[in-house]
């Protein structure tokens, strides 16, 4: 790969490293090394800058970052999008061989939450005469000459647990095993534990490298050192014997655990880059607990800082991992047991707004454990969630206005009947182009390759206009339908519910339910006899999936329970046979309703008003709101996140609020849509506001 100066002849190189072998560590140093196979005729200074846009190795050119000649997606700035303020420089002389750039802050930024799009290498003075260097690429025949990134790092503890007691919190952890291929420089010396009351330990707080562990009770940032011990110990009980003051019953405490070595390095990633590209520390192990008399279970199983707003509910591989998409254009894969990252976050091109479906390798036709992820950069990705490798990505209709908001739906070939004629899994996404109320699209993709199977685009007209799609489509395996909800230009004049043939994408029926836009996803009963659709007007419709012709949605049974705003997320069907119990949330209320498919009648079960006043200073920005719900049939509970920093637990039978887990009631956090893991009896939530985190709670709690 070439780097060259000279007006009209400039060349630059881009290089990207896979960091998955070092998934959970504080980076202390990082050095980029390239081997010069040809050198400039005079000494030159070359810089390594952070690339700031997603690109693809086989498609990148001077003008193009991804795409093809016919359908290019160009850099915003020809020659590559990069951050000019974050660079390392190296001198390349007429005799250089291995050239090193010190890129510690850049790599720390990747570990702190900045998407990793690699480095751009360029001549520091590209004007003037032509000088050229050539560096060995990853395909070079001599392995030792290929680009390298040398890291020194400390891993975090594993299996961190916090168990609340009566006036106490018992912590336990394990030390990590060495990463294969690494060389040990200094051994671990122990851990330092910081505690914060009421809110998670601020993400910028960490002990100082090169300085001995702070004394007990030292205040570090907003946290207090409650333990500094050697490797002889893997437990610590925080109680009344704590010289810094023991934890009090009824108060939430958060703990952050740093390993340190004999050179007093800590498992943190110091602030390297200016806000907001740097999350300022640290994917350090965290947890929390609320001491209480015996019987309390008020402890998150783990806490993990995403350093980003998370609007997408987590996708789940039960018992294995959750996959969290963020507003920093990343996909985190976290171990469900420990909350620790399985590999550094996968850098995508845009914001992830929807829950990614995560499929087991044995089910998915692609043959990998895979998550299909649409993003706001107009792409759909197939991410191998076992490794973090992007298996394919596609901009399915060569549009720069897809701005995908909903998640992808997948029809698994392995579970489809003969009526499904595609040879692979089908991935379905809906576009969210806000600049049109009629020409959005539903797109069906080959799950193995990303190739477009079909595209259905709306056209202006009372029965054909397709407004923006904010929801995730629903697959009807029994009938081979794809159900899609959409906006309807705010009224009743165009459809907001669509039924498509899954194999061909043809529109089989559409209609308008409720005369309003629809942002929530439809839900289908297990035996596909009723499709529940909730509208932005707060109404719940029970649609017969065989609806056809000119039958209007208005003829379908519907249920409305007060004017409490739009229904969130999707209606949660809590059982498998009629009469169905359906749970949904609106702005301040949780609703449960029964629907009898035989009599086609709704009957109210209960409505619980979580927030009697929709405005309160105890809620974030003084506005109270609820997330979408999930229902645990095993626990018999309903879970919904509040904007007052609590995860609410309601009795499914009565609607009574039986508990609320503290997520972050001090900031307070806005608790997002929970994800349910019945396999492990857990719910996972993410938060926004101040410190963005993902948490796991055992249920019932």
């Amino acid at each position: 790969m070439f780097v060259r100066s000279g007006a009209g002849a400039v060349r630059r190189a881009v290089v990207l490293f896979d960091l998955t072998t070092v998934p959970n560590a504080g980076i202390k140093t990082a050095t980029l090394t390239l081997f010069a196979t040809a050198r400039p005729t005079v000494a030159r200074t070359y810089s390594a800058n952070l690339v700031t846009s997603f690109w693809n190795e086989t498609q990148v050119t001077w003008n193009r970052r991804v795409g093809t000649t016919a359908n290019p997606i160009n850099w915003s700035a020809a020659g590559g999008d990069y951050d000019g303020t974050v660079s390392a420089t190296a001198n390349v002389t007429t005799t250089s061989t291995f050239v090193n750039w010190t890129v510690t802050t850049a790599v720390q930024a990747w570990y702190n939450g900045t998407p990793n799009y690699g480095f751009l290498i360029r001549d520091n003075t590209e004007t003037g005469a032509q000088y050229t260097a050539q560096f060995a690429a990853r395909t070079n025949g001599t392995v030792a000459d290929r680009p390298q990134l040398m890291l020194t790092f400390l891993q975090n503890v594993t299996n961190l647990r916090a168990t609340p007691g009566d006036g106490s919190v018992a912590l336990s952890w394990a030390y990590p095993t060495p990463i294969a291929g690494g060389t040990i420089l200094e051994p671990y010396a122990g851990v330092v534990i910081l505690r914060s009351t009421g809110v998670p330990v601020d993400k910028s707080v960490a002990p100082t490298d090169g300085v001995a562990p702070p004394a007990l009770c030292t205040v570090v940032g907003s946290a207090t050192v409650v333990y500094a011990g050697t490797t002889a110990n893997t437990t610590f009980t925080d109680n009344s014997s704590d010289s810094c003051g023991g934890p009090a019953n009824g108060t939430m405490y958060y703990y952050k655990v740093f390993t340190y070595d004999t050179a007093d390095n800590y498992s943190s990633n110091p602030t390297g880059l200016p806000s907001p590209r740097d999350g300022s520390s640290t994917f350090t192990a965290e947890t929390g607990a609320m001491p209480n008399p015996p019987g309390s279970t008020q402890a998150p199983l783990w806490v993990f800082a995403t350093h980003s707003t998370v609007e997408a509910p987590p996708g789940i591989m039960p018992g294995v991992q959750i996959d969290v998409g963020t507003d920093t254009s990343q996909l985190f894969a976290l171990n469900t047991s420990t909350g620790q990252p399985l590999y550094p976050p996968v850098a995508l091109g845009g914001i992830v707004y929807g829950r990614p479906p995560v499929l087991d390798a044995s089910d998915a036709s692609i043959g990998y454990q895979v998550a299909y992820v649409p993003d706001s950069d107009n792409f759909v990705y197939a991410v191998d969630t076992a490794t973090g490798i992007i298996r394919w990505f596609v901009e399915p209709n060569n549009s720069t206005t897809n701005l995908f908001r909903g998640g992808a739906a997948v029809q698994l070939h392995a579970y489809s009947g003969a009526g499904f004629t595609r040879a692979t899994d089908l991935v379905v996404v809906g576009t969210r182009n806000g600049a049109t109320t009629s020409a959005n699209s539903v797109i069906g993709l080959n799950g193995n390759t990303g190739a477009v199977y079909w595209t259905r685009t709306g056209v202006a007209g009372p029965t054909t206009a397709l407004d923006m799609i904010n929801s995730t489509p629903t697959v009807d395996y029994a009938h081979n339908y794809i159900w899609v909800t959409s906006h309807s230009d705010g009224g009743a004049a165009q459809p907001n519910l669509w039924k498509l043939d899954s194999s061909a994408g043809t529109v089989l029926w559409n209609g308008n339910c409720g005369g309003t836009d629809i942002d929530s996803s439809p839900s289908l009963t297990q035996y596909a006899d009723v499709l529940f659709v909730s509208t932005n007007g707060g109404s719940l419709y029970a649609v017969n999936p065989t609806i056809s012709g000119t039958t209007a949605c208005a003829t379908m049974p519907s249920y409305t329970d007060g004017g409490d705003g739009a229904a969130n997320g999707f209606p949660y069907i809590a059982n498998t046979v009629s009469p169905y119990t359906v749970v949904y949330t609106t702005d301040t209320q949780v609703h449960a309703v029964s629907y009898n498919a035989a009599t086609t009648t709704f009957s109210k079960l209960w409505t619980t008003t979580v927030y009697p006043s929709p405005t309160s200073t105890s809620c974030s920005a003084s506005v109270c709101s609820l997330s979408a719900p999930v229902v645990s049939l095993i626990a018999g509970m309903v879970y919904a996140g509040g904007s007052d920093g609590y995860l609410y637990e309601l009795n499914l039978s009565t609607g009574a609020v039986v508990n609320r887990a503290v997520v972050d009631a001090v900031s307070p956090a806005v608790v997002g849509d929970p994800a349910l893991d019945e396999f492990n009896q857990r719910v996972y939530v993410s938060t926004t506001a101040v410190d963005q985190r993902a948490l796991a709670f055992a249920i019932p709690h």
């Binding site: 490293f17 846009s53 003008n63 020809a78 303020t85 707003t309 806000g434 904010n470 739009a566 709101s625």
Partner: protein, 160 residues
Amino acid sequence: MQHRHIQSERAWLSAALACIGVLAAGCGQMGTTSGDQPVLPAQPLSVAVQVCNTTPDGCAAGASYSLATLRDLAINVSWENVPVGTHLQTIEILDPSGWVYQARTQAFAIPEDWDGSAKTTETVPVSGTWIVTRRRAGTWTLRVSLDSQAAVTQTVQIDP
């Protein structure tokens, strides 16, 4: 007793850390250049930010926007007197409680023979997003910076 499990430490990876993608960029036909010390133009850097609601009829600017009808918030940034070179614009979008909801970066290049002006647009989806479902009405703040240097701050009022 536990020492046998406690051996990882500060480690050094070399070949074990694989490089997954290395490639040369294409050759530029244009004379795009970017030095670390670009020549500053005579006029001071200036920036103007204009926001509007993206609709099928165009982008409608207003003194405030309704949460119920705001589809996409387009943030149009106009730069003047930007030095030659590649630059990184960052827009931090702060919600009414003051935390960073999103931070969007966009690179742009000022070629040597250009007048130093540039225009960028960021489209922030609103309708159907978390902003609406969690009812985040109030005063939003846009903090615009160029190459990590703060340039301008502007507020946007979103009504319930």
